[in-house]
């Protein structure tokens, strides 16, 4: 009789890592590490490694560390110790197994949320150091299978979800028809050159959340926005290659996005409620392509809703009655300073709002971002277990009356949904757009 393998062990097998390390030798690893350190890093890496005084003060920033009963292996500096320090100490001469473990740590034990940069007295950017590790692992071909698949999709289709060109247009037209049932004059203008705004979304929206495109179309039409969506690749603003370490694909995807907006001669790109996509177009992709700031202004949905509501272009017919709380997504709050605007929007739309503690820049990450949720099912259990503090935060907000957790970010939305189910919190999560669509004044 064969012994049953514990369920957790079955889940832990990740073909992407296993096959990746199978072909590695220590010589090859050393060559790649040395190449990356010498060729792709510079003053930041040197200063961060030389300046770190090993004080451990970054630990209290990290939701992994806090949720894992202060296990030092999950502290930001602990993760650097287990990965980059060792690579540097051994001048890159580490084993394939070490690389596998380093990939697991850098890609599934860190959301690159940068909260620790706010807790380190020296402002050491551990997220950047984890990205260096991810870069090395990518060049060695060691990447979790699920997220590698999305990066492949980006490379082949310029979108994250293998959405074919005709499926994309078809989905938009389908949502247009659906929404015309509600607003007969509604249009989703495709390829409208010279429109004020190009509206961009992430791959999963047409793939399995098409109702979000419907809602956006209703908001745009009611507000009388001169907008368009592209009918060509370049419509997807997401970027998983940014998280695998595949900077070249990340850059190509971002170039396609900006060039699509430039071709349509729009004044601004307005994007749906996604955090990592905001990071990729506002902070990372533009830099890779040589622009200090995005070549075309990027407006996140929070900012856009704020604009529409504050200018009275969208009016609230009847406020949302259930009490809500707000999750601050790292990439748009710590990454874009949209926390106060998000609160304004929430207060304008909802009767009752309670804060989660801590909040604003000090929020806890959802534990899904930074590509962690995209590493797929093998890591789901550890992901939700690594964010007990978020569950406690939500639970405390629930005690204060919150029934809805507003999460204006796709990854946060999915991550928090998982946390709600795992910890049986009995609340629901919604996008700002879900609520705006529900409470807004619509003609007829």
């Amino acid at each position: 009789m064969t012994e049953a393998v514990p369920k957790e062990k079955i889940q832990q097998v990740d073909e992407g890592l296993e096959r990746g390390v199978a072909g590695l030798t220590e010589e090859k690893i050393q060559k790649v590490i040395q190449r990356v350190i010498a060729g792709e890093t510079g003053a930041r890496l040197k200063a961060y490694v030389d300046t770190c005084i090993h004080c451990g003060l970054c630990s209290d920033a990290c939701h992994y560390f806090l949720s894992r009963d202060r296990d030092p292996r999950y502290s930001p500096v602990g993760k650097v110790k287990q990965t980059l320090w060792e690579m540097l100490r051994k001048d890159g001469k580490v084993s394939p197994d070490f690389i596998k473990q380093a990939r697991i740590i850098a890609s599934t034990h860190c959301n690159l949320c940068k909260r620790c940069a706010m807790y380190c007295p020296f402002g050491i950017d551990v997220a950047y150091l984890m990205l260096v590790v991810r870069r090395i692992c990518h060049l060695l071909g060691v990447t979790p299978l699920y997220i590698q698949d999305t990066a492949h999709s980006h490379a082949a289709t310029f979108n994250q979800m293998w959405v074919k060109d005709d499926e994309w247009i078809d989905t938009l037209q389908w949502q247009e028809e659906e929404a015309q049932g509600e607003l007969p004059a509604l249009r989703i203008p495709l390829e409208k050159e010279g429109a004020d705004i190009m509206y961009s979304v992430i791959g999963p929206e047409p793939k399995f959340q098409a109702q979000l495109i419907y809602q956006a179309a209703v908001i745009m039409n009611v507000a009388g926005v001169n907008w368009t969506m592209p009918a060509t690749p370049g419509w997807d603003n997401s970027d998983m290659a940014m998280f695998t370490g595949d900077n070249e694909i990340m850059g190509r995807v971002k170039r396609a996005h900006f060039e699509t907006a430039a071709r349509l001669r729009v004044k601004r790109i307005v994007m749906g409620e996604c955090g990592h996509a905001f990071r990729s177009v506002y902070d990372v992709g533009n830099r890779w392509l040589g622009w200090g700031m995005p070549p075309i202004p990027i407006v996140h949905a929070i900012d856009f809703y704020h604009e529409l509501l504050s200018q009275g272009r969208i009016k609230v017919a009847k406020k949302f009655t259930e009490t809500v709380t707000l999750h601050d997504p790292c990439n748009v709050v710590r990454g874009g300073g949209l926390h106060e605007k998000a609160r304004d929007v929430v207060r304008w739309m909802c009767e009752g709002f309670v804060e989660m503690e801590p909040n604003r820049e000090h929020n806890y990450c959802c534990c899904a971002g930074g590509g962690v949720i995209n590493c797929g099912p093998p890591y789901k259990k550890q992901r939700v277990e690594s964010n007990r503090v978020k569950a406690e935060q939500i639970s405390a907000a629930k005690v204060k009356g919150a029934k809805i957790v507003i999460t204006p970010c796709h990854n946060c939305h999915s991550g928090i949904e998982d946390i709600i189910h795992h910890y049986d919190l009995g609340v629901e999560t919604k996008f700002l757009g879900d609520i705006l669509y529900e409470v807004m004044e619509k003609p007829g």
Binding site: G42, D50, T51, L57, K81, A117, F122, R334, G337
Partner: protein
């Protein structure tokens, strides 16, 4: 021992200061050249306003969330660093040496205060040592070099105190005091004590990114 004492208080002082100042300049220039060669984009984002805003918050006791989260550590850290820098500069016995050698002098700390400050530095080192032993997240990332740095920092203060009170062999401890002080000066640019040089740069850069691009606070 006289020979060694003469060496320690003569050429070695020169050597220590030259290596400390020269080494510090070398490390800083090397880093800036590295920025220039490989990460020029930093110039695009570095901002005096936001960099200083962040640095000032972190230089204020309890001025940041994390300082408030660790009150004891904050008190010790600030007291330790202030005393560490001020005591040797404003110690009367040191100023007398400057006066004898260069005919320059400045305000000196009262001896009693200097003693208290020296004890604070030694106590701080002891606190950090214990913290490294008992706090798991600190112990996990602690290596021999961390203890060496603590020892290097405590040594000139401990030996100085012993020499001042003439507890043991004064000449021996004065010599050890001079040598350990020189060792510490030399170590500043070449060990992680170099956080003294680099921390304003790393903090300033992070403050610039947060303030200018991310429109968020980093404290």
């Amino acid at each position: 021992m006289d020979e060694l004492y003469r060496l320690a208080t003569g050429p070695l002082v020169w050597a220590a200061f030259i290596i400390f100042i020269g080494g510090s300049l070398f490390r800083l220039i090397h880093l800036i050249l590295l920025v220039h060669r490989k990460e020029k984009f930093i110039y695009t984002y570095i901002s005096l306003k936001y960099g200083l805003r962040s640095i000032l918050h972190w230089l204020t006791p309890f001025g940041t969330t994390n300082w408030r989260l660790h009150p004891w550590l904050t008190i010790v850290t600030f007291a330790f660093h202030i005393c560490l820098v001020l005591t040797p500069v404003f110690l009367l016995a040191h100023i007398v040496l400057w006066d004898e050698a260069w005919n320059i002098s400045w305000w000196a700390l009262p001896d009693r205060l200097a003693i208290v400050m020296t004890v604070i530095v030694i106590g701080g080192c002891l606190f950090f040592f214990i913290r490294r032993r008992v706090t798991p997240e600190v112990a996990y990332v602690t290596s021999g070099s961390d203890y060496a740095i603590l020892l290097l920092t405590a040594a000139p203060f401990l030996t100085g105190l012993i020499a001042y009170f003439q507890w043991f062999d004064v000449r021996l401890f004065t010599l050890l005091h001079v040598l350990s002080g020189e060792a510490m000066l030399i170590a500043i640019p070449f060990t992680r004590i170099s956080h003294m040089l680099f921390a304003p740069l790393t903090r300033g850069y992070m403050g610039s990114e947060f303030g200018g691009i991310r429109h968020a606070r980093d404290w």
